[in-house]
């Protein structure tokens, strides 16, 4: 027999009957639901969200593929050893399976113009692309959540000013401002993450502010206020956790966009410093590769990039649907 604490309410009803839902008289007593009435079980909104997400097969597949790619990039080098630091002109531009003139084993996906193994390069480039994507969205979401929560909670004149500032920044095309900043700040993972993150917090800020505006009139927030909670405590203990579902959806889209813009920066030659590389940097000379027929330097890395962005977008869409289910219960 299973531990009675672990059985679900449904199982309890099967075992004990409708009284399962009643509260003993010693605790004030509560009648079971009237005959024919429908009984709803209260479940955590998060668990509903997970269940809704899991019912979307495509989204589960996308999540699996994304995890597989992350593992490939970060654990791959442990199993697949290749030279990723020293340029080796003698084995440059080898096709897949072609053996170097100096002898030695052939390369699974050939080599690039520096003679580095392309298959290993995919992993190294993926590491920085994923790191920058994640870190840039972390920066954006931190600034955005804080800004939006403060703006929404204070309200009134300050809110007006803070949101007009967001409007002005949103009128600057993101790509242009990122390019301008990247002319000075590029070369390292940290620089590029900050460049990409520092102007992408605007949409999260708007979303969180909207959430906070509806949350701050709710009973639990008012109750916390009457109990003397400070503004700061309200924000981090009550408002941000409850606005979290909206932010989580946005994070996935932010990661997707950051990886695309990182690729654009790499393509325009504003990426990481050799021997570091990201998927975008690997596509920097892609046009020459295509014209020279070196497909192995273009399509594998491009395919990985598109796959990651596609996964993030699919996951984001499914999460949004799942969050809708959660929010409907409010």
């Amino acid at each position: 027999m299973t531990d009675p604490r672990n059985i679900t309410p449904e199982q309890r009803i099967e075992e004990i009957g409708p009284q399962a839902l009643s509260v003993p008289a010693s605790l004030g007593g509560l009648r079971p639901a009237p005959e024919g009435g429908e009984v709803h079980f209260t479940q955590s909104g998060w668990r509903l969200m997970v269940r809704e997400y899991a019912s979307n097969r495509l989204a589960v597949f996308a999540l699996g593929l994304l995890i597989a790619i992350i593992l490939f990039c970060f654990l791959g080098p442990v199993f697949y050893h290749s030279n990723q630091t020293l340029a080796d002109p003698l084995s440059a531009n080898l096709g897949p399976g072609q053996t170097p003139l100096t002898g030695g084993a052939s390369h699974l996906l050939g080599t690039d113009e520096n003679g580095l193994d392309e298959f290993g390069r995919l992993m190294v480039g993926g590491q920085s692309a994923l790191e920058i994507g994640a870190f840039a969205s972390l920066v954006a979401i931190l600034i955005g959540t804080l800004y939006g929560a403060v703006s929404g909670l204070i309200g009134g004149f300050v809110d007006g000013i803070m949101m007009r500032f967001v409007d002005v920044l949103l009128s600057i095309p993101y790509l242009l401002i990122v390019l301008v900043l990247a002319t000075k700040y590029n070369g390292t993972v940290l620089d590029l993450s900050l460049v990409l993150g520092v102007f992408s917090w605007l949409i999260p800020a708007r979303l969180v502010r909207g959430e906070v505006l509806t949350l701050r009139t709710r009973d639990f927030v008012v109750a916390a206020q009457t109990m003397g909670a400070s503004r700061w405590r309200l924000i981090y203990r009550h408002l941000i956790p409850n606005a979290m579902s909206v932010t989580i959806v946005n994070v996935t889209f932010l990661v997707a966009d950051s990886i695309i813009y990182l690729a654009v920066l790499g393509f325009l030659g504003l990426g990481l410093q050799f021997p570091d590389t990201s998927w975008g940097d690997m596509l920097g000379n892609a046009l020459q590769y295509v014209l020279a027929g070196q497909w192995w330097l273009v399509y594998p890395v491009g395919g990985m990039l598109v796959a990651v962005v596609l996964c993030c977008n699919v996951i984001g869409d499914a999460l949004r649907d799942a969050v809708d289910v959660r929010l409907r219960r409010r």
Partner: protein, 316 residues
């Protein structure tokens, strides 16, 4: 309506000044004076100081910004020291081809995306709908230059129908029209990217309209499906495209940049890209302002156009 437009234009001016201030501040912080570009990177401190004094770069940032704004009002966007030409002249030279590229791609993508979205919604959850959605989603997740590369591979290298790049003498709209094959690949690339996002919106707005009572009524009174779709549904479902087009105008500018770099088209995007490498910041500033102006005007256009087309929407 007129009062509304005037009020919005007033706000637009304030937003543009705000954008100018922020961009000006960033660019000034990154590169305080173009003296080193004019005099060479090994110029002596004294020469730079003299040059700065002659050209007003020794004044406070605020004074420089105010005189920049004053010049803008007179249509003077400064001087490009790298190109040795005024920014206004450069924009007049390179602007038309960019506008042609965006305009052609916009028109083409609407022609494709609207019927595609309607067809997907009408035959929803059919294999065709799934296929179109999958393709759209993939295109939507692609950096524009990568799509361009794939098209170059297919149409220029494998099939050898179109040239992989645009030759240097295609710089005007006239040349673009007389050499349609030159700009075919860039326009198709931009079009496909637009179609990917437009048809998604068209599909969902058509689905919303299909559930409305007036469609059921039109069907109930025995109209043929073709008439229901073309006369009743189409016009209502297309309303959402007006907003979308207005909002996507600034993205056309940014999207152009990569395509112009990839295909070597002498438009504004390539001008901006070269300006980045040369720290030619009057060009960068002017292009960013153009982007901001298009954003603000695109928003205004979307609101006014939707109010004109849809009597249910009122502006006040």
């Amino acid at each position: 309506m007129l009062g509304y437009i005037i009020r919005r234009l007033f706000v637009a001016v304030i937003v543009i000044i705000g954008v100018a201030a922020i961009t000006f501040a960033i660019l000034h912080y990154l590169s305080p004076t173009p003296a080193y570009i004019v005099l060479g990177s090994k110029a002596s401190k004294l020469a730079v100081a003299i040059w700065d004094r002659q050209h007003g770069y020794n004044r406070s940032e605020l004074a420089q910004f105010i005189s920049y704004l004053g010049n803008i009002v007179h249509g003077n966007f400064g001087f490009s020291y790298k190109n040795n030409q005024s920014v206004t002249a450069l924009f007049q030279e390179d602007g038309p081809i960019s506008a042609y590229l965006s305009g052609a791609a916009l028109v083409l993508s609407l022609i494709i995306a609207i019927p595609l979205g309607v067809a997907q919604a009408v035959k929803r959850n059919s294999p065709g709908d799934y296929a179109a959605t999958a393709i759209n989603f993939t295109l939507y997740s692609m950096p524009s230059f990568f799509l361009g590369l794939i098209l170059i591979q297919i149409f220029a290298l494998d099939l050898n129908i179109f040239p992989p790049g645009v030759s240097d003498d295609v710089t005007t709209i006239g040349a673009a029209i007389t050499h349609p094959n030159q700009l075919f690949l860039p326009i198709i690339t931009l079009t496909l990217l637009n179609v990917a996002s437009y048809s998604r919106y068209m599909r969902s707005s058509t689905l919303d309209e299909l559930a409305q009572d007036y469609i059921r009524l039109a069907r109930a009174k025995g109209l043929s499906e073709r008439v229901v779709l073309s006369r009743h549904l189409f016009r209502n479902a297309s309303l959402s495209m007006i907003t979308l087009v207005g909002l996507s105008i600034p993205y056309l500018v940014a999207g152009n940049l990569l395509i112009e770099v990839l295909f070597n088209i002498n438009g504004l995007g390539l001008l901006f890209y070269n300006a980045i490498g040369n720290e030619d910041y009057n060009v960068m500033l002017a292009y960013t302002l153009l982007g901001a102006l298009l954003t603000v005007l695109g928003n205004l256009f979307a609101d006014v156009a939707i109010a004109t087309a849809d009597p249910r929407v009122r502006l006040d």
